[in-house]
Subunit: 168 residues, 2 copies
C-alpha cells in the first residue's frame, strides 16, 4: 500500500468510526486528514482532498475548533488561513473526554437529579424501585464524571502502562 492510499484508508475508517459515535462523518474525516498532515492545510486543500464543498469544510472545521481539536495557523506573507490538528493522541483523547463530559454527562445528570425527586409516598413500592434505579445511574454517572476529571488531569503515563498493572 502506498502512502497516499494508506492515508485515504485511514481517513475513511476514521470517518466511519466517528459516525458510529455520533460524530458527523465529514468532521471526523477532516480531523483524520489534518491529523496525518505534517503541514497545516488551507480550505482549498481540504476541499480537494475530501472532494467536498467550501461551505462543508468551513462548517465542520469550525466545529472541530469548537471541540478544541483544530487550530487556525497563519503563514507569514499569506492571506489564506491554514488549519492544524493536535498530533498528540493522548491530548486529543483527553480533549474529547472533556467536551463530551461537559456536553452530555452534565445535562443528563441534571435530569436524573430532577426525576429522582419524584413526589409521593417514599414507601410506595413503585416509587421506591424507580428512585433506586435512577440513583444507581446517578452513582455510575458521578463516578464516570470523577474518573474523566482525573483522566483529564492525568499524564499520558497514567493510561499508557500505569493503569493496567493495578488490575493484575
Amino acid at each position: 500500500m502506498k502512502l497516499a492510499e494508506a492515508k485515504s484508508e485511514f481517513i475513511q475508517a476514521w470517518g466511519t468510526l466517528g459516525s458510529k459515535w455520533g460524530i458527523n462523518r465529514t468532521m471526523a474525516q477532516l480531523h483524520a486528514l489534518l491529523f496525518v498532515s505534517p503541514e497545516p492545510m488551507s480550505t482549498e486543500d481540504m476541499m480537494e482532498a475530501l472532494n467536498i464543498s467550501r461551505g462543508n469544510v468551513n462548517m465542520n472545521i469550525r466545529e472541530l475548533m469548537d471541540w478544541g481539536l483544530v487550530e487556525k495557523k497563519h503563514k507569514p506573507g499569506d492571506r489564506k488561513e491554514y488549519f492544524w490538528a493536535e498530533k498528540d493522541i493522548w491530548k486529543v483523547t483527553k480533549q474529547v473526554a472533556k467536551e463530551r463530559k461537559k456536553r452530555e454527562l452534565e445535562p443528563i445528570m441534571k435530569v436524573l437529579e430532577q426525576v429522582s425527586e419524584v413526589e409521593g409516598d417514599k414507601k410506595d413500592k413503585n416509587i421506591k424501585a424507580f428512585v433506586e434505579s435512577i440513583n444507581a445511574i446517578r452513582r455510575m454517572a458521578s463516578n464516570a464524571d470523577k474518573t474523566l476529571d482525573t483522566m483529564v488531569k492525568a499524564e499520558e503515563n497514567w493510561f499508557f502502562g500505569g493503569i493496567l498493572k493495578l488490575f493484575k
Copy 2:
C-alpha cells in the same frame, strides 16, 4: 413531579443521550422504558407507552436483544411475549462496553494495522511521520482494548469506589 411524569422525562432524556452516541433514539427509549419498568412489558404495552408502531417496537427490541440488554420472558398461561431489561446498571455498562469493543474497536484496529504497513522507504520523513501517528493511535487503542477487557471482568466494586482512591 408525579411518578408517570418522572418516568417519561427520564425516557426522553435517555433517548436524547443515546442519539448523541450513535444509538437510535427509539432503541434508547425502549431500553429506558424497560429499565424503569418493574414488570416485563409486551409489544403492545411498549407501542402504547411510546406511541410507536408494532414494527418499530419489534425491530428495536430485537436490536436490544442483540446487544444483550433485553431478554424475552414468558408468562405462564399467556401466549404473548414479554420483554425484560437488565436492571443492574453496572452489568448494563459492561455489556455495552463489550459490544462496542467488538463492533468498533476491533475493526478499526485491523485497519490501523494494515495502513501502518505502508510500503516505501522507512526513512522517508513523510512515511515515518504517518507510521508514527498511526502507531500512537494503535497503542492507545490497544490500551483501551485491554482496559475494557479488565473492566468487563471486574466486579462492580472496581469502578464504584476502588479506582478513584488510586489516583488520590
